[in-house]
Symmetry: C2
Subunit: 432 residues, 2 copies
């Protein structure tokens, strides 16, 4: 084994994911020569404070000077696990221009500047891998790019944010309200101090942008993804969903239709027997539909030191294999199409609407006629008297373009018989 | 596009899977140059009867002469979808020796002669890919070999036979007996005329051998996998399982323990909230546990023309990418260890036993003492009087080595108070 090839790498960031990658590379040290025909060794670790002790890590590798890594010709792989757009973007771009291969877990960067960094990789014949950027440890990027490459994929959707899935699971199983479930998630460390990116769907939207780009071979960026958060979901909505045999999940949904790509993140009612309905707590899952494979689903841990480290280290192994085989840059950007992104107004969905109305004859007829006038068909209605002259009306519509539904909503908001419309949610319908 | 590289391939077999591969390659014709930097074109299709018309297929490609393919230097990829050991093994071996790359869906061959064909591929620097051999369209081989390569995997198990999963689903949901569910499966074309390989677990065992070999980096062959079929499962067993919050599934289970690899296929009781418990009808799923990724699951269609074709065509695309990148043979046999296969007597499991005993005081005590004398702990007991002096006793044990359980069973079979022991099943317990 003394003549096994040693590939030097640098780790940018020594936080949760960085320490996971560090540990896994240690554990796999003796396996690597047999698995890869090479050993990947960390030569440098970029940290903000080199004096801060980090348990289990060799502090002699620490540096706070990026140039030391960039200018070291021996370092062939740069592993970026700092997160955030800058300075990650500059480092990755400089590394690629220097001919270094890059493995990154950075969803923010890829969802906004994926094209730029992938183009840089292409230009320099480098590998740029990012399996960890979507759904943590769950293999999804490589299955989409390789295993399912012979499919025309029409749908990729999933539960790609563990924090919100945990909150919705608590609301469903323990009948908690949103605020209480969020407080619990924060206490347990599932939610960050500022939970905005999670609960408003921004984190999920970044992952949708990345997955849609790969699945449909056409660039989708973060700003193309419509988002609706879960902060307004109530225990009442969930109780109605349960009554109707459905479950509310925050879904990232991307569809490739004849008239363009639809991409959104919204709380959705899905049938309780759909495979995604059973994905609970902080688990993630991605569901794919293709013309050949039909339905497939990938499920597992979407975050955490070791699961995310597993995906990063898997990519490092792939780069090492490419270096050994002389095939770096073998698969890079696969966005060779330029498909239209559909504005949300054109997206078709079914809707769930919960409203408080005057409890008297003729009210449902009036509501129904507003829907009818706006091309919205009603699929299901539940009406319950809640006292004090008020009835709660829950309506599920058939599939309709969002703009028609919004038109109907505008009219209803002005109707005197309508007291309040606390909830408007979407209902999942299998694409045709 | 006129200068795009054309890679010629030959298809061996034009049955269900072969026609799926044929169709998918047609559908993807215009996409291939952009996805792969090359176009894969079928030059020959090996069939037994070249005169038989096959709908949608170009009959000018048909040949019944293997030599025509083998001796054609222009053919770079051989796609074997005939199934069975011979002549597939000879053809694949000859193709590899001639420097042709091979894509195959042949689980029988790989589970018994995987080493030989992988060695031949290695020797000649060829690709040999077989994603379709396990769980049809579901990506599992590549995720195990690549995405999860940085894990020490300790468990890989799954529902890898759609026929038996359909039968058990019918028995569970519609309370059918085995014979009726099998008859229905046969009528619907889910079961073959001779269902032995499915219902006895042999088909699943082949997939377990292949998955275990890859997951644990050590060769496991078909004969190493213990099998128990589902023919003796009754509606009564399923009713008890339901009562205990469990579901009966035919599971292929492989574990990498400190004392060796365990590999078996058996009907097992698993908790109703386990992700595999919700995988119903003819769907397949594979569940993996690793030191870094924790739990992950892959789910989808385990068979069928297009799903299996999706996996085969994905492999063909990979070979094409390797040819373009000059990196064929990049990843071949990953069995670099030589781990012991544990005899089934040493395998630890929990057991479910349903027995008919005399309905009088002291009987349970007598049974319990036999278990105690044989190092078997009892976890749960249900006793029901069934009339005519008979009680039905259902016992679930704690984890125990199979040999101890068997010893207890031998004693019980001789006891006069024991009238019959109609069911002995295993109960899934998460590995430690």
């Amino acid at each position: 084994m003394s003549d096994v090839r040693v590939i030097k790498a640098a780790l940018l960031g020594a936080g949760t994911v960085g320490s996971g990658v560090y540990d896994i590379l240690q554990w796999q040290k003796d396996e690597m020569p047999k698995k890869l025909g090479a050993v990947v060794e960390l030569k440098k670790i970029l940290v903000r404070n080199t004096k801060k002790p980090r348990e289990g890590m060799d502090s002699s590798l620490f540096t706070d000077n990026w140039k030391e890594i960039l200018d070291d010709p021996e370092i062939e792989i740069v592993i970026e696990v700092m997160g955030g757009i800058e300075p990650a973007k500059t480092y990755i771009t400089e590394a690629l221009h220097a001919g270094k291969h890059v493995v990154t877990a950075n969803k923010d960067l890829l969802a906004e500047h994926g094209k730029e960094v992938l183009d840089a990789a292409e230009e320099h014949g480098c590998d740029l891998m990012f399996e960890a950027a979507v759904a943590g440890g769950i293999p999804i990027i490589r299955p989409l790019k390789q295993c399912l490459a012979a499919n025309h994929l029409t749908e990729v959707m999933g539960i790609v944010n563990g924090t919100t899935n945990y909150i919705l699971t608590k609301m469903t199983k323990d009948h908690m309200e949103f605020a209480d479930a969020l407080a619990l998630a924060t206490e347990l460390g599932y939610a960050e101090a500022d939970p905005t990116a999670d609960v408003e769907g921004y984190d999920a939207a970044r992952k949708v942008a990345i997955m849609a780009s790969i699945a449909f071979n056409s660039r989708v960026t973060f700003s193309d993804v419509y988002t609706q958060g879960i902060t307004k979901i109530t225990a009442a909505d969930i109780a109605y969903a349960t009554e109707m045999g459905m479950v509310i999940k925050l879904l990232g949904v991307a569809r490739n239709t004849d008239t363009g790509i639809e991409a959104g993140v919204y709380p959705m009612l899905i049938p309780a027997d759909h495979p995604l309905a059973g994905v609970n707590d902080s688990f993630n899952a991605v569901f794919v539909h293709g013309d050949a494979v039909d339905d497939a689903m990938f499920q597992g841990r979407g975050a955490g030191k070791l699961p995310t480290g597993s995906a990063v280290a898997g990519d490092i192994f792939e780069v090492a294999r490419d270096i050994v085989a002389g095939s770096t840059g073998r698969i890079n950007c696969t966005c060779y199409k330029n498909l239209r992104i559909k504005p949300v107004d054109e997206v078709q969905n079914r809707y769930f609407m919960r409203m408080e109305v005057e409890d008297r004859p003729g009210v449902l007829a009036a509501i129904a006629s507003v829907f009818g006038n706006n091309h919205v068909s009603i699929a299901q209605v539940i009406q319950k008297s809640v006292g004090e002259g008020t009835a709660e009306l829950v309506i599920i519509t058939d599939q309709v373009e969002e703009r028609h539904f919004k038109d109907a909503l505008l009219v209803m908001n002005e109707m005197s018989i309508v007291k309040e419309i606390p909830s408007v949610l979407r209902v999942y319908a299998q694409s045709e």
